[in-house]
Amino acid sequence: MDRDMIEVKDLAYEYIRRDEDGNVESINRAIDNVSFSIKKGDFVAILGANGSGKSTMAKHINAILNPTEGSVWVNGLNTAEEKNVWEVRQTAGMVFQNPDNQIIATVVEEDVGFGPENLGVPTKEIWERVEKSLQAVGMLEYRTQSPNKLSGGQKQRVAIAGIMAMQPQCIVLDEPTAMLDPNGRKEVISTVRELNKKENVTVLLITHHMDEVVFADKVIVMDNGKIVMQGTPREIFSRVNEIKKYRLDVPQVTELAFELNKSGLNLPEGILTVEELVDALKIQLRKKETSKAGGISADYI
């Protein structure tokens, strides 16, 4: 039986704020009874507005946070057990939001080698892993450069290489594109997709950008610490009103299709790209032509 890569069971997490005397000032239940699982090799996205609990969720996967209630299992290991922590972190690598604040070294290749150094990998193998990882993210030619000279998207790719060099089975990316421009976002997401397809690395992408998750195997939507929607991207995207209720956004074409359907058109659900919308419109328009010619009533008002 193939065990799940990640399993979350009845997880709850509370942020407790204490005042100067140590008395409890407020309790924020950031994650409230969450359960889900991720299969090996899948590309799963967690979507949610700020404050939905998605980042808190991510930090449980690699044991940065420990559950208040419930449990989190990574490749069969319980993240709450102290003896598992380092193995969990090597199995589930994490890439953070701020590109600068996760690069340690002054030279790209040295930063990628930081992880393997910590794992006690022999020198010769470190070099092999560094080269392979930089190659996999397309940054090999920048290996001797200073990170300060790189764009945001390039820095994030170096950070991803740094995680890949640890040979994890799964990568968690906590809003990796939040501080990047559109080109940088494209760079990073396509790099991650490549890694998922070619190296079969399980990916958990935390984000609030819908357009980044169109290719995911599964999308989980969080709001107020709970899971409120779960399904394939197309299933999720077709429920535009619900998405908006949870303070998220849909691609402009999805919104347009939704509006057109409200006005009586009959476009298919879950349109995500320009091409899909144009094709769907063409079909509808051609139907209209033929119905006009043949006098059969078409599917429109």
Partner: protein, 302 residues
């Protein structure tokens, strides 16, 4: 690259409190300039003998050189030091104009030193302007101090020109390693130094950005007396500190996520290993050391 040697110079001056304070302020500015130089492009990339030396040899050599500068009081001594320095400059293949650029930063200190030694050293007067006189001893003293300062800057610059900041921290870490037997956290100190080096350019950029943002709100960092200017720094320093703490927090999480748990069990991607070139380097330094000691002993004889 560290301020302690400047204290050595200051200690040799006649002590007057105004001088003290001025020089202290001047060197604080210099330290900042030097930190900038080290972190932003002081390294001159080329493939010379000096570049290929292990950083530990260079660190030891620079230390030795700086100590030797204060051991001589005669012309012969200075000739030996000059010969050593200039042959190192040649070996480094760093263009001369880069080397003298570093001296620009200390022009003021140099001027102060020369002037104070010139006018305030007691002895046999040569020129007189009213109650201020220049003595023969003053001339000699000023000359020697000037040369010491200049050689000091050039000597330590040569080290930063031929060694990357990472090599420097690696070298220091290896040299200081024996100290961990007396519970000095050598690895952690070296890690802190290299992280500081990594973030100094970023923090400098952020300082600039915060300054501009506050200036856009009418903040004035330029006019006013000392107290007013100190107060005007608050809108600059508070955001900087907050940001620095946030970065530190993020960085700690990122390091833990990459399984960092201190120096135990860590391997190195670029371990420092001595080669025959380095042993020759140490031999050269030994010869220089011998020359220094011999020269000092001869001076005492004469």
């Amino acid at each position: 690259m560290l301020p302690w040697y400047l204290y050595a110079i200051i200690l040799q001056q006649p002590k007057i409190s105004v001088v003290d304070i001025t020089i202290r302020l001047v060197w604080k500015g210099l330290v900042l300039i030097m930190i900038r130089d080290i972190t932003i492009g002081q390294y001159y990339p080329t493939d010379s003998v000096l570049h290929r030396l292990d950083p530990r040899v260079k660190l030891t050599g620079t230390l030795l050189f700086i100590v030797s500068l204060f051991l001589f009081h005669s012309f012969f001594g200075y000739i030996a030091v000059t010969l050593f320095l200039f042959s190192m400059i040649k070996l480094s293949q760093v263009p001369f104009r880069f080397i003298v650029r570093g001296l620009k930063a200390i022009i003021i200190l140099l001027l102060f030193t020369v002037l104070f030694n010139l006018f305030l050293t007691p002895g046999e007067p040569i020129f007189e302007f009213g109650f201020i006189d220049i003595t023969r001893e003053g001339l000699k003293s000023a000359g020697f101090m000037a040369i010491r300062l200049i050689y000091l800057i050039i000597g330590s610059s040569l080290m930063t020109f031929t060694t990357t900041p990472n090599q420097l921290t690696d070298g220091l870490e290896k040299l200081m390693h024996p100290l961990h037997h007396i519970k000095v956290p050598v690895h952690e100190i070296a890690m802190m130094m290299s992280i500081a080096l990594r973030f100094i350019p970023i923090l400098l950029e952020e300082t600039d950005k915060i300054m501009k943002a506050q200036m856009a709100r009418g903040a004035d960092f330029e006019t006013g007396g000392i107290i007013k200017r100190a107060k005007s720094l608050i809108p600059l320093l508070v955001p900087l500190f907050v940001s620095a703490f946030r970065r530190a927090n993020d960085l700690a999480m990122a390091m833990e996520a990459r399984c960092y748990r201190g120096g135990e069990g860590r391997t190195k991607m670029k371990p420092l290993k001595y080669s025959s070139r380095d042993y020759i380097g140490y031999m050269v330094l030994l010869v220089y050391l011998a020359a220094v000691i011999a020269g000092r002993m001869l001076e005492n004889v004469f």
